[in-house]
């Protein structure tokens, strides 16, 4: 059945999802946007292999993966600090790895970080679904390898393109490989509804630490810390933004992430910047976080720099 060569998974890991840069033009149907949670690690995995920005890779949450290649290809693993073995020999992350047919790769449990990105030369060959994306949405039952939202399962085969010209061996310079154990301060763009929060609440939010709780997933990050007082607890539901800091009645903020619901009605203090969310995606529950205000101008400057670096002037896919 699997005529196309690729990677066959003996162990799918705790939660492994095909992800790309997410959907476009689908939110109005109630469909989430999705996409790689840590775009930095995901984009590097693709860039090492010369894949254009947006190429589908596998997002592996909490490691525990084993697969065998049925073709001659190159892969790259970035993100969480997991032990990476090829046929039992330890290999580096953040670098290109040559695979021969029959080679078996195992990724262990992260020592730091949370999500690993596995990219392959030319990208995984999956037909895009709704919103032009291959992203996987377990809650919706949409997208992914079988277009049914199922996470990677034992025995799944991710088709790859054989016969591509290999890229020279590359490595991400060490100073660009993040340390996911470092203190994290999330940058926040204050939004109009910030007026609903009394000065004391804002003072607490920007000066006290919050803890990332285990009730955190691809939809949202629930935080625990000083309860924030809100004036007027409910609003009329409106379209949601990535990173939006919603404060429900209990005063504990929730950050809306990639798979968030498309509309929501809690008061919003602001939005965590996309670059800060990339960093957050590698933090395990229990991590202490702080917030600092930034401006839209600064955020968009950083974001454009990021996108320009990874998305602009990328070499075309070789064949």
């Amino acid at each position: 059945m699997t005529s196309q060569p690729g990677l066959t998974f003996r162990k799918p890991g705790f939660l492994s999802l095909l992800q790309d840069s997410g959907r476009r033009g689908a939110m109005h149907m109630g469909l989430a946007t999705g996409g790689a949670m840590d775009r930095h690690a995901w984009a590097w995995a693709n860039r090492l292999l010369g894949n254009p920005y947006g190429t589908t890779a596998l997002e592996i949450t909490f490691g525990g993966v084993e697969f065998t290649s049925t073709l001659e290809t190159q892969i790259a693993v970035t993100g969480a600090a997991v032990p990476c073995l090829v046929n039992g020999t330890a290999r580096s992350l953040w670098t290109t790895i040559q695979l021969h047919p029959g080679d078996t790769v195992t990724l262990g449990t992260p020592k730091s970080g949370l999500r690993s990105y596995l990219a392959v030369l030319g990208g995984f060959q999956v037909t895009p679904g709704l919103g032009g994306s291959c992203a996987t949405f377990p809650r919706e039952g949409t997208g992914g390898l079988h277009h049914d939202g199922r996470p990677l399962a034992e025995g799944d085969h991710l088709p790859c393109t054989p016969g591509l010209k290999p890229v020279p061996n590359r490595k991400v310079p060490e100073h660009w490989q993040p340390d996911y154990r470092s203190e994290l301060e999330l940058a926040v763009i204050p939004c109009a509804q910030i007026e609903r929060f009394p000065a004391s609440a804002l003072e607490a939010f920007f000066s006290q630490p919050y803890t990332l709780t285990p009730q955190t997933d691809r939809m949202g990050a629930r935080l625990e810390g000083p309860a924030l007082e809100v004036i007027g607890k409910t609003l009329i539901s409106e379209g949601t933004s990535l990173g939006s800091i919603q404060v429900p009645a209990n005063g504990q903020p929730i950050l809306l992430l990639n798979d968030r619901q498309t509309i929501g009605g809690y008061p919003k203090l602001g939005a965590v910047t996309p670059r800060s969310l990339d960093d957050l995606a590698q933090r395990q529950p229990g991590t202490r976080l702080r917030f600092r205000p930034t401006t839209l101008h600064e955020t968009q400057f950083q974001e454009r720099r990021f996108l320009t670096f990874f998305a602009a002037g990328q070499p075309a896919r070789r064949s």
């Binding site: 149907m29 409910t234 379209g239 968030r260």
Partner: protein
């Protein structure tokens, strides 16, 4: 007020067309949506209408806020003046609205709508009267959200309004028709849910393989038509997948919901209650 905008995220702005939920606003936002889609087209990564707002998502690599806002302004100059408060909201310029009403067949029965009796008791009506009442109104799609194709429809006749269940059901089958507060909705996919269920439609509200996956869009108008069991089955309706077999089974099912609730596995319902004009 014509409209105003708010910065809501790194790559989003939210246009506000009013402060209160109002049927006239639904038409107006739909109109604005069409204008923006026509004139800005693929430049908008997403355009999300809701009760009083329109969220715009743009591409930071190719676009900037100042020029986007200028073009939004130009596009929306064609938007007619809002109606004055108190003016009948049916008098909009959309014209052929009667033809636009989408009819949804519903099998109203306790076998598929386990809360039908409690809604009737609450309203002091017979089950038949509840059905007639639910079918008698024309509803507006205020917003799509919570799940793919989940349409928030309003408003239900006052006597049918009912708070959502204290404990949501762990599983509501696709096609289930529910009421929560002053809104009604159809669950497009099997999901947890706390709305009062009164019936089920055989229609597939969301189908990813259709050219238009979601049967309903914000701004559309909807009516329900009561059908019998035979017609329900003829139209492809299912009765073999009901999650509420026994009262005991339901109790266990409800218990399971509590632990699986993450950020939100529930459609919100408070909107109309709080945004209501009276």
């Amino acid at each position: 007020m014509l409209w105003r905008y708010e910065i809501t995220g790194a790559d989003t702005i939210t246009l506000h067309f009013g402060e209160r939920i109002d049927v006239a606003l639904v038409t107006r936002i739909q109109h604005a949506s069409t204008l923006l889609r026509e004139q800005l087209g693929p430049r908008l990564l997403d355009l999300v209408p809701s009760y009083t707002t329109l969220l715009l998502r743009y591409d930071l690599l190719t676009d900037d806020l100042a020029s986007l806002l200028a073009d939004v302004k130009t596009a929306l100059t064609a938007l007619p003046e809002p109606l004055y408060a108190g003016e009948p909201s049916s008098g909009n310029s959309a014209g052929d609205q009667q033809a636009d009403i989408i009819e949804i067949p519903v099998f109203y029965d306790v076998s598929v709508g386990p809360d039908l009796d409690s809604i009737a008791a609450r309203a002091g009506l017979s089950v038949d009267e509840v059905i007639a009442c639910h079918c008698g109104a024309t509803y507006n799609v205020f917003a799509i959200g919570f799940a793919p194709g989940f349409a928030y429809l309003g408003e239900v006749p006052r006597e049918l309004a009912a708070p959502r269940l204290d404990t949501p059901r762990a599983k509501v089958p696709p096609g289930a028709v529910g009421i929560a507060d002053t809104q009604t909705a159809i669950y497009p996919l099997a999901s947890p849910g706390g709305w009062n269920l009164i019936g089920r439609t055989p229609l597939q509200m969301f189908d990813p393989d259709r050219e238009r996956p979601s049967l309903l869009d914000a701004g559309q108008r909807v009516r329900f038509r009561a059908i019998g069991r035979d017609e329900y089955l003829e139209l492809g309706g299912r009765l073999d997948d009901l999650p509420w077999g026994t009262a005991e089974g339901q109790k266990t099912a409800r218990k399971q919901t509590e632990s699986r609730d993450l950020v939100s596995s529930e459609p919100e319902t408070r909107d109309l209650k709080n945004g209501d004009r009276q």
